[in-house]
């Protein structure tokens, strides 16, 4: 009996220990940046370094908005991520429906081809796309990023949507068609609404993919008016100066949207990621 009690006690302690490691690993960098963003310049350059801000200040946030057009960067990131998400969802839901539901010869080959696109190194595509966008005068525009990002997320979104479409019972669709719907009508009125959670999941993945992308954004949109956040954040550093408190404040502002997205939709994100990972 006593041994049993002991066992339960250590198992519980082990659980706390495991939780502490996972939480510290996941949250520490963001937490450290948050703490840094409230420190004064003087406190930051004092040695030994402090962990908790001694005189919390919001001056760094004011500087972050003053030194760079941070709202513009946020807006640009949002337009590009949202725009490519809409285009990706449109394209991939059509393709996924065809693959999951219609009488399509060689459907596995088609799905594999779409997924193989994601194996293509983005850096490799960057060189010709740079030249093409330059030729089309699309450098420094939202389209220069929206189009390539669509292809970036197309494979994972198609994969997620195919698995969701396959789970919807065929009878529902047939019933709608017997009741007078066309096949297209059945798709839009029955299948898409039922697959809404899948569409949502795919959308979040596409949004985060575009929100995070750096290389193409850095290469194609160098003008401040079209810079996205990951590139804009790099602009705080001067030739020799590295205003860490200001950068930290800007990072905190820039992370808020993504943190909100994963806070609200965490279960969907996980199901989408693992659907892609386990089946891909």
């Amino acid at each position: 009996m006593n041994a049993q009690m002991n066992n339960v006690f250590t198992a519980k302690r082990l659980r706390w220990f495991a939780a502490a490691i996972v939480l510290a690993n996941g949250f520490f960098p963001a937490l450290w940046i948050l703490l840094t963003s409230f420190k004064t310049e003087a406190e930051l350059t004092a040695k030994p370094i402090t962990y908790w801000p001694e005189m919390p200040t919001v001056a760094n946030y004011i500087a972050a908005f003053r030194d760079q057009p941070l709202p513009q960067y946020l807006l640009n990131s949002f337009i590009v991520a949202f725009g490519s998400m809409i285009v990706t969802l449109f394209i991939s839901s059509l393709a996924a429906y065809a693959i999951a539901r219609l009488n399509l010869p060689r459907r596995n080959l088609i799905l594999t081809t779409i997924i193989a696109v994601s194996m293509f190194p983005l850096v490799t595509l960057m060189v010709p796309l740079f030249e093409i966008m330059r030729g089309l005068n699309l450098l420094n525009s939202y389209w220069a990023l929206i189009f390539p990002y669509t292809v970036l997320s197309l494979p994972i979104c198609t994969l997620v949507l195919v698995s969701f479409f396959q789970e919807i019972p065929r009878d529902l669709e047939n019933a709608a068609m017997i009741d007078g719907c066309t096949r297209m009508g059945a798709m839009w009125r029955v299948v898409v609404p039922l697959a809404a959670p899948g569409v949502f999941t795919a959308g979040i993945l596409a949004f985060v993919n575009s929100w995070d992308e750096f290389l193409l954004s850095l290469s194609f949109n160098s003008a401040a008016a079209f810079r996205t956040l990951p590139v804009g954040i790099q602009m705080y550093q001067g030739e020799h100066s590295f205003p860490w408190p200001t950068i930290s404040a800007a990072l905190v502002v820039a992370m808020v949207p993504v943190v909100i997205v994963i806070l609200i939709f965490q279960e969907r994100v996980v199901s989408g990621l693992t659907a892609g990972g386990v089946k891909g």
């Binding site: 996972v22 939480l23 990951p230 965490q266």
Partner: protein, 302 residues
Amino acid sequence: MRHPGPRSRSWFDRIADPSEKALAWLLLTPAIVFILAIVAYPVSTLLWNSLHDVRLLTAQGARFVGTENFALVMSDGQFWRAVRNTMIIVVVTVPGALVMGLALAMLANMPFKSRGPIRLALLLPWAMPLAFVGLIFAWFFHSEYGIVNDVIQRFGGEPRIWFNSPSLTMMAICIATIWKTSSFMALILLAGLQTIPSSLYEAAEVDGASKWTQFTQITLPLLVPSMLVALIFRTLTAIQSFDIPYSMPGPGEETQTLAMYIHMNAVDYLDVGYSSALAVCMFILSMATTWIYLRYVRSDSK
């Protein structure tokens, strides 16, 4: 029956309610168009450019040079240094992220009362842009005010000037990359862990197998499929490492990766011919890696 015979269908009917096969291809058309425009066509111009002298800085048109660009690449010391740095990142961070991800997945798989915070702790690194991670870790490894040196000093060690030394910079880059990528690995492996029926462990428990035996005989073999998929993707993205090394520069261009070198030639020097040849080399490297993995998968399943 709602459908009249095929002969009596008007063109309007045919568009409004096409046959199933025609509809399937119609629905696939946007995806095909995008893949052709954003992948296939650029790749063909990439191959063409790699065989030409194309510089956007000079007004002169493209000149066919055959394999001259590739000969230049092969004798380019900066290219080989970039390849070496990239391979270091691949060789260190892919196994690193796997071990770290497996550890995190095992820890996160414990029976907690609320899974929310644990899940968030795994999702946050995944959702954080790589470029941000690079900046944050550059701050961690700051020689004067960084927390890494502070901790080293508290334990009585010598603080390092991380970004003055190529090897220390590579170490910092690898640590940042492992942190960023291990959580995605953990999410995939966690999903794999949750598909393992607990009856297997109960049976092993009855047979008196130790925890370690259970781990090596049950957990690891059953995780191999999810591991392989995650590993292929991780390796391919590690070959393309750009954001983190770019945000954590070492001395000069000592820690340049292949992707950074391609970017420099294309965007800074506007030397499309040469950067295309470099990009083709990276493509070959990626394909070779995928091929090795697939070969392993095939020989493993036999």
